[in-house]
């Protein structure tokens, strides 16, 4: 009985010491995490590449049965895009003429830093990349893919690594709009992260017409991200007469499992 209470007392004491110890560790969190990432990065890279290879192989096997339907869909989309290119070419010519007339300088290209993904947080939508403060990466910098698809923002920059909070992270909120031709009306709203690689497009006025497959891009309204970056496609539209706004579910353009390289924008604005 006495021995049992002694054991319980010791366990309680150990747990208290452990809590104090781990709380103390948080003061040096960045240094500790960076050291662990530095030691683990070769193993993580190997695991990441192996995971990507396995995923691609399994996906190919799984997708074979849907190949015919997908091919048909892609052909239709290709035709639609070709007609859009034709109308955009007209706009480019018009734009160039106007720029010359107004003597406006061409928009400067982004200065980009190339990085690799090392790991993904299993409980939240955030990833770890192999560039950090040493490579002049700072908190808040915008991260995109090579196709100009918006991935997220640097949330924590360590010495050699950085953590990127994906746009699907529950803390991510920014302004977006539906990609429209010059004749169409601009429809903007707020894009909110829903975790598990899903996004919501909210605060869209009831009178605006939005459709499935509409493309969402960023707009400079909130000042979070540069305008014109691709976000995703509308998956489903939720409209209710009792609500003042309508909302939609967005399917992001990025798939973390397939991304090889990412880019950090150094001069977003």
């Amino acid at each position: 009985m006495r021995r049992n209470s002694f054991s319980q007392r010791n366990t309680a004491l150990f747990i208290i010491i452990a809590i104090v110890f781990f709380a103390f560790l948080n003061f040096f969190q960045n240094q500790i995490k960076n050291s662990f990432y530095l030691i683990s990065s070769p193993i993580q890279k190997t695991f990441w590449n192996a995971g990507q290879k396995f995923y691609t192989s399994f996906e190919t096997i799984y997708e074979i049965k849907n190949l015919k339907i997908k091919n048909q869909e892609l052909k239709q989309e290709n035709n639609r895009l070709l007609s859009e290119i034709a109308s955009l070419n007209e706009l480019v010519k018009e734009n160039e003429t106007l720029r010359k007339a107004l003597d406006i300088e061409l928009e400067k290209e982004f200065k980009l830093i190339l990085a690799d993904i090392t790991s993904k947080d299993t409980s939240q939508d955030s990833i770890l990349i192999n560039k950090g403060l040493k490579d002049k990466i700072l908190n808040g910098m915008v991260v995109i893919t090579e196709e100009k698809v918006l991935l997220g923002k640097i949330s924590e920059a360590y010495k050699d690594f950085s953590r990127v909070a994906l746009i699907s992270n529950k803390e991510s909120t920014f302004s977006g709009e539906i990609l429209a031709t010059s004749s169409e009306e601009k429809i903007s709203g707020i894009i909110q992260g829903r975790e598990k690689s899903s996004l919501s497009f909210i605060r869209i006025p009831q009178d605006k017409k939005i459709f499935e497959q509409d493309i969402i891009i960023t707009c400079a309204l909130g000042g979070n991200f540069p305008s014109g970056l691709l976000v995703g496609k509308i998956k489903t539209v939720k409209k209710s007469d009792t609500e003042p706004f309508q909302q939609a579910e967005i399917l992001p353009f990025f798939n973390i499992k397939k991304i090889q390289k990412i880019f950090i924008i150094r001069n977003a604005y």
Partner: protein, 114 residues
């Protein structure tokens, strides 16, 4: 005795470190509906349910008062915290809480007949 337990802790340390790397870099590619298999959580859960009474008594005799499940929760939680965006201690607290809840349920409501 101390060296024997130190060896056990060291092995547990490597196992949990390896598992945390494996699930954050490899298993994330095989998430279903956005949920990734959390091997550390499963192991701690199994440890706290099936922790052998004899082993626990043996550890008790050896005056090693820290149970395997508690040790697993601390080490596993620590590595989960390192490879996540949470503060150090977040997963440790969750896992310790889970172990405590399981132990209470097993002690109060489950009777195993041998």
């Amino acid at each position: 005795m101390l060296i024997k337990n130190f060896k056990k802790i060291l092995i547990a340390l490597f196992v949990f470190y390896f598992l945390s790397l494996f699930q954050s870099s490899f298993l994330v590619h095989f998430s279903f509906a956005g949920i990734t298999l959390n091997l550390i959580f499963i192991i701690v859960l199994l440890l706290s349910i099936f922790e052998n009474k004899k082993i626990s008594e043996q550890l008790y005799k050896e005056k090693f008062w820290l149970k395997y499940s508690t040790l697993g929760a601390i080490l596993g939680g620590f590595f989960l915290d390192i490879f996540s965006s949470q503060f150090i201690g977040f997963h440790i607290l969750i896992l310790l809480g889970t172990v405590a809840v399981i132990k209470i349920i097993l002690k109060k409501y489950v009777r195993i007949l041998i």
